[in-house]
């Protein structure tokens, strides 16, 4: 694929995903993985899960995983295009809807939509966890680290970065 072709493809993919991202960007992980790793082969499983890890460890909003993927696949132009593609359609929609929202805030159909989307978002979020685990974990110890980090987040008040630092230390020690 030519450079321009890759950029156009990235822009097209993430423009569509912008409007499908109910519940935020993390629920898109399975679909991004399907398109970038499985269909296009633009990166390996390991690279995908490592870029995701970087985006979690970096400061700022978590949608930057999309910027990082664009940068990895197509450099600076890729980063700009994926960032604009994931933000522009949803932002335009938000701008318009914010205008109308006051009128509908008590409307019953609004509550129905929220109740309908909640379980879809949960299903997608579990799918993200599953896909990332499959992509990053090879061996019992890696699974143990994933489970321990999930348990730490659920049942303690440890900061996510501290959990990632411990996981990094295990990795650096070469036990994986």
């Amino acid at each position: 694929m030519s450079d321009a072709g890759i950029l156009a493809e990235l822009g097209r993919q993430f423009t569509v995903l912008s409007l499908l991202s109910i519940g935020g960007i993390n629920s898109l992980i399975p679909e991004i993985h399907r398109q970038i790793v499985e269909l296009k082969g633009w990166m390996t499983d390991a690279q995908f899960s490592e870029l995701f890890a970087i985006s979690q460890a970096a400061p700022g909003p978590n949608f930057l995983i999309v910027t990082l993927i664009g940068f990895f696949v197509a450099g600076w132009p890729g980063a700009v295009i994926t960032t604009m593609a994931i933000c522009a359609p949803s932002s335009a929609l938000t701008y318009v809807v914010a205008h109308l929202w006051d009128r509908f805030r008590e409307a019953r159909w609004r509550i129905i939509i929220q109740r309908a989307l909640a379980p879809l978002t949960v299903g997608l979020m579990f799918s993200s966890g599953y896909v990332l685990t499959r992509a990053s974990d090879h061996g019992v110890l890696a699974y143990a680290i994933t489970a321990a980090s999930a348990a730490t987040m659920l049942w303690t008040r440890v900061h996510p970065l501290a959990a990632l630092a411990v996981a990094a230390a295990f990795g650096a020690a070469g036990v994986l």
Binding site: E31, A53, I54, T94, I111, I113, P119, L120, G123, T146
Partner: protein, 189 residues
Amino acid sequence: MVPLPAAPDPALVVPSTRALFFGFLQVGISGFGGVMPFAHRMLVERERWMTEREFVDVLSLSQFLPGPNIVNMSIIVGRRFGGPGGAAAAFTGLIFMPFLIIIALGAAYSAFGQLPHVRETFAGVAAGAAGLVIAMAMRMARPLRRTSWQVGIAMVAFVAIALFRWPLLGVLFGLAPVALLLAAREKPP
């Protein structure tokens, strides 16, 4: 959103376009793995651009619509105080620094990511990051436990997306109408 009161709350401040840019600039570089708590601190506690109640309304709209939640919030807040220019200023402020930081990290990863020791460290972080997402999913699932159709929809979505690897577009168009019908059959709260 609660419309701004006719006689504005004297404790509230109306930000300029410039203030929107710099306010969200700080939010952008504040959080790790989620900046929403910092947005709350900036908007309600520190700068006093909106009340607690208004923040909750803006937050629920940001989460209701597709797109990154914090980006949606920057658009709503920017629009409210400065129209299109305000929305553009808030959005640009929000992503400016994180964009540069993530590119720097990406460049470092491209340069050094193949070194064996770096590779092993990243494998550890990646395993940990997968756990963070699983924990988030479990927290989000807690409110669903009382409603059996919601549990069913969540499970079907998981099987279709995670196990069968079906395209998201098709799964959403298939499941959303079913979920809407089931939600509409429930009695109003």
